[in-house]
Structures are given as C-alpha cells and as structure tokens.
C-alpha cells in the first residue's frame, strides 16, 4: 500500500511535468485563424471588416474539423456584424458540451472584434478554428457581394432570423 501511494505520488509529479512541458509548447492565447486557414484569406484577400454597404446574412464555408463540420452564418447590417448564427457544429465525445460554452464566447468575441480575428477559446480549439474560418469565409462573401453590387441592398430579411437574433442559442445537444 505504501509503495503504491509512493508510485502514485511519483506519477502525479511525472504527469504534472509532462502537462507543464506540453502547455509550454504553445502560447496561451492564439488567434483562431492563426495562419492555419490559407484558403480563406487567399480567395479575396479581404480585410477583417466588411464594406459599409454590406447587409444581410452570409453563409460561411463548411469547415471540416476533427470533430465534425463547423459552419456559421454572418449577419450584417450596414457593414456591421450584428450576429453570428451557427449552422453546423462539432459533434462526438464532449463536443456538445464544449460547444455550449465555447460558441457564445466566440460569438461575443467576433461581435466585439467585428470580424473573425478572434482568439481560441481554451478547451475548444477545433470549434474555435472552424468557427473563425467559416466566419471569415462568410465575411469574405459579404465583401465580394458588396463589391459586385454596391447599391443592391441585400437587407431582404436574413433567412434564419431566429438563429441570428440569438447567436448563443446553439442547437440542443443530441443527447451526448
């Protein structure tokens, strides 16, 4: 019993050490786009903020992650990001729980940053990455639409308005 206790104590030290080393390999706060999404930026080279003329809902690309596909929709009003609706979110394992706290944080961040230039929510790396990439794609789309038809007002009722109004309202967990 005594030896077992000692072995467990030694294990605790070892595990703390390896976690410490692992934690030290990456910076604490990391931008979610973090250069890992070349496809998003290269398409248009869009700026973080969409043009002032852009209004309406713009669906972002679906971004495959290890835990399923992330896809969001950006809701803009006169170039201002007013909401983000989640169309697809990660699944499996702890995904629903992680998403239920991470997605509201990400949306709040995005609204504050007025773009996809947001930080990874800790513990929700895949969700954050997918979210940021999809949102960036949506904003790119908005920018492109505004450029091709600068006068066309696309304020015709954002489709999933219910979702957009409550960006934090994530899909109910699927019993996971």
């Amino acid at each position: 019993m005594r030896r077992t206790t000692m072995a467990l104590a030694a294990t605790t030290t070892g595990v703390a050490l390896i976690i410490g080393v692992k934690a030290g390999t990456g910076s604490a706060i990391r931008p979610a786009l973090g250069g890992s999404a070349p496809a998003v930026n290269s398409s248009t080279g869009a700026a973080a903020a969409p043009p002032a003329t852009a209004s309406g809902s713009y669906t972002g690309s679906s971004v495959p992650t290890r835990y399923g596909t992330m896809q969001v929709q950006a809701v803009l009003k006169a170039g201002k990001l007013t909401g983000v609706a989640v169309l697809q979110q990660t699944s499996g394992g702890r995904s629903s729980e992680i998403d239920s706290y991470a997605l509201p944080l990400l949306t709040a961040e995005a609204l504050k940053a007025q773009g996809a230039d947001i930080d990874v929510v800790s513990g929700a790396t895949y969700t954050s990455d997918g979210y940021a990439q999809s949102l960036q794609a949506a904003l790119d789309k908005a920018a492109q639409a505004a450029r091709t038809a600068p006068s066309a007002s696309r304020s015709a009722a954002p489709r999933p308005s219910a979702r957009a109004a409550a960006p934090a309202g994530v899909r109910p967990s699927e019993g996971e």
């Binding site: 077992t4 976690i19 990456g26 604490a28 835990y67 702890r94 513990g123 790396t125 996971e176």
Partner: protein, 474 residues
C-alpha cells in the same frame, strides 16, 4: 522448540566452509534479471501511451487549470487502460513468465501493479469530472452525473470502475485473509468484464482514439493479442494437456491431521517436463469440486506415470480432497513455478550447498526438492517447521531420504515466538546450519513465516539473491 527425531549424526555435518566469493558470484541471479527485464518491458509501454496523448493534445489548449486537470485525467485513464492489459497479460500463464521469471514473482508484480492501476483508474474518473466541472462552472456532483449518463458508453465504464474497485478491495490484505480462495478468485475474474466495459468509452469519448484510426487499430490489436494469449495459455493448452495425459486419482492417503496426499496416474507425464518444486492447478471432476481449480505443489519427484500432491486443509475445497474416489478424472494447468533446482544453477561453477526451510504445508515442494537435489551429506539441509509435532506431515519420508543420502534434517515445533524464542530465529538457524550464509536457501511456507525467516536470513548474512521464496497466500 524441540528437535523431533533428528539423529545427532545428521546434525553435526556442517563445517562452515569459508565461502570463495568469485567474480560471477556478485552478479544478479538470472531469474532476477528476468524479473527486471519484465518490469522494463512493462515500463517500455508507457512512453507510447503518453505519446498518444501528446500527439492528440493541441499546444495552447492547456492554458487553464481546468484543461490541465482534464489532461491529467486523460493521461491517468490511458495509463490505467494500458496497465489493465498488462495485468491480464501477466496472469495469462505465459510459460516463460511462469517458469523462468517465476509464478510468485509475476504474482507479486501483478499485485503491486494492480493496486496502482485501481488507483489510476479512480484518479482518471475524479480528475476528468473535476476538470469538466471547473470548465463548465457546475458543481462536481452534477457534472459527474451528467458525465456518466450523457456521454456515450461512460455509464459502462462507471460500472467497470466499480468492478475494479471491488477487485481491489477483495485483494487488499485485510479482506483477502477473510475470504476463501474461491471467492477471491471468482471476484477477480470480473476484471475481464471490467476491461470489456471500459473499452467502449475509450473509443467513444477518448479523442486519442476517436480521432485516429491508427490508434484505434493499434489499441484493438493489443487487446486482441492479450485475449489470444489468455485463451491459448489458460484454456487451449490446459485442455489439450488434460485430454492427452488423462490424469486420474489413483488413491488418497491421509498423512496427518487435516493433511492428505493425492496420488495421480496419467499417460506419459514425463512429457509435461514437470520439475520438483513446481505446482500445477488441479481441477477434480467430482461433485462439488469440478468448478474450482487450485494450485498444489508436487510433493514428490514427478514420474512418467504418476504425480503426487499433498494438501493441507486451507481453503474451502481442500477438505473435500480426502473424499476423492479413485478413478476421478483430473484436469490440470501447468506445471508452473520457478521454485526449482534451476534457481541455484550457476554458470560453470560448482553448485552451492542448499538449505531448505519449510513451514507447515510449505513442506510439499521442498519434499520434492529434497528428494531430487543433487549432492550428498551436508550438501542439502532441510529445516521443517510446524506448530505441533503431529503436524509434521511426510516426516517419515523425509527421514528415509535423509538416511539414504545423508542429508541434514531438522524439525522445529512450538508456537511462534519473538526475537529471542522463535524456533526459526537467526541464532537458532545459524546453530543448526553454521554455513547458511554460503548456501542457496529455498523457503516455503505461509506469508508471515516466510517474511520473518527471510529477515532473519538476511541478518545472518545470506545475500538476497540466494533466498528463493515460494509463499502461499492464495
């Protein structure tokens, strides 16, 4: 503290010859090397397990306490799952482990690792729940309930953890003493169920596996390999041997109060390669007996047509052995055990003299060794300890072997005493066997006795690697 029927002529034969410590003598005995090699092999599996975690953890995700706690829980879980496999593999009765490392050594590792593994499994559950609770800001109890019921297959693993703790509890020394061998053994079999139940959640919620096909394949392969070893060595091989050798009870002889010898007959038993000092697990196909198997040492040198075991009434079933009818079919596993003459065999060096110390029913393997060890005169000395003179089972046989070969034989009876009056205290051992520090010592008996005698031997200058212990506690 009486020497029972020990002819003085046999007592006075030990001239304490000065030992000649040669170079090779300082080396570790081969079975100890194997024991270390085994531990090293087990430890070698840890880095890959940690690597799996390392690879599947994103740098930067460990930036808060909750994440670190969860990570520690994951590592604990991975290690526990790995060690569970190791524990089963250790008990798969792989011949190399049983006969070269030694069943008792393997059982000791299994026991120590088992405690540790149950500790890790508990830590896994606690850390994960605390980590999640911290992350989501809920109270740990509510989080624990939701982890068990809302996540796929986790309720199965909760049952698995309960079973592991149960097995750990029945194996704790205090509880184990109060249980019969059968109850303990059958509870232990639940470990197989526990591993099966835990397996599902490892793939369902363990991102190390759910996210990597390669890891899933390797992990499954490890489980399949261990299962195959268990089926081969614990089921197929014993079945084939039992069918081939057709062992039956020949007769049952009462040796003393509560002690019986069972003489067994079979075909071509020499093919088994059994050695004096080894044991087999016996299953007597008689009413009330067939469902349990017990390890009993051979109490005489194995012969091509017959084996003999001598059993003291220890567990639930031993009492029933006295009623075995001649002709009863016997299934068996084994032979197992490294408590043989090979233990003291040395490379290119004269065999050392030997001291055998047996307590109670522990005399059985020593009786077989006493008969078969090479040498003459004081080369082999046997010290036989029992609480009452009438408990000295097989003593007549020992005397006749001693007479025939001139081996030393001592009997010591009486209650256990302290440092000054115990029948097997160091001073008494040295008086009987003055050169004991130069001998290979084989020690077999109940755990308490082997522990105290081992300590006395060490104090008397016997190097650790020359003390060979077979303690029966299960």
């Amino acid at each position: 503290m009486t020497a029972v029927g020990t002819p003085p002529s046999q007592q006075a034969r030990h001239r304490g010859r000065a030992g000649t410590p040669g170079g090779i003598d300082g080396l570790v005995a081969p079975h100890r090397l194997r024991s270390w090699a085994l531990l090293l092999a087990i430890a070698a599996g840890v880095p890959p397990v940690l690597f799996v975690w390392w690879q599947n953890t994103i740098p930067g995700s460990l930036d808060n306490g909750a994440a670190c706690l969860t990570a520690a829980g994951r590592i604990a879980g991975l290690l526990a799952a790995y060690l569970l496999l190791v524990l089963v593999a250790l008990m798969a009765r792989v011949p190399w482990l049983e006969n070269r490392v030694g069943s008792d050594t393997v059982a000791r590792h299994h026991r120590a690792l088992g405690e540790y593994t149950v500790g890790l499994a508990c830590a896994h559950a606690v850390l994960i729940v605390l980590g999640y609770a911290w992350q989501s800001g809920r109270n740990p109890v509510a989080e624990g309930v939701s982890v068990i019921f809302d996540y796929p297959d986790v309720w199965l693993s909760a049952i698995s953890l309960g079973l592991l703790v149960l097995v750990g509890v029945v194996s704790a020394r205090a509880v184990r003493r109060k249980l019969s061998y059968e109850s303990w053994y059958h509870v232990h079999l639940l470990v197989y169920l526990a591993i099966g139940l835990a397996f599902a959640h490892e793939f369902a919620v363990g991102t190390e596996f759910s996210a990597s096909l390669r890891n899933r394949v390797l992990w499954s392969a490890a489980h399949i390999a261990v299962a195959a070893a268990v089926l081969l060595f614990r089921v197929a091989l014993p079945l084939a041997r039992s069918l081939r050798h057709r062992v039956r009870v020949e007769r049952v002889v009462v040796e003393g109060p509560g002690v019986v010898s069972v003489h067994l007959r079979g075909r071509r038993l020499d093919r088994l390669g059994a050695e004096a000092g080894q044991f087999l697990r016996w299953r007597f196909l008689a009413r009330g007996q067939w469902w349990q198997s017990h390890p009993y040492s051979l109490s005489a040198a194995p012969r091509a047509d017959g084996l003999r075991i001598t059993v003291k009434d220890l567990g639930d079933s031993s009492a029933g052995l006295g009623r075995l009818r001649p002709g009863t079919r016997v299934w068996f596993e084994g032979p197992y055990g490294a408590f043989t003459a090979r233990r003291s065999a040395r490379w290119g060096r004269r065999r050392r003299r030997t001291l055998l110390i047996g307590g109670g029913a522990g005399i059985t393997p020593l009786r077989a060794l006493y008969e078969t060890l090479p040498g003459q005169g004081a080369d082999v000395v046997l010290v036989y300890r029992a609480s009452q003179p009438e408990d000295l089972a097989l003593y007549g046989e020992l005397e006749s072997i001693a007479r025939r070969r001139g081996f030393g034989l001592f009997a010591r009876t009486g209650p256990r005493g302290g440092a000054h009056d115990d029948p097997l205290r160091g001073a008494e051992l040295r008086r009987m066997v003055p050169d004991l520090a130069q001998r290979e010592v084989y020690l077999c008996g109940p755990v308490g006795m082997t522990e105290s005698v081992r300590a006395e031997l060490r104090r008397s200058g016997v190097p650790r690697h020359r003390i060979h212990i077979e303690a029966f506690q299960f």
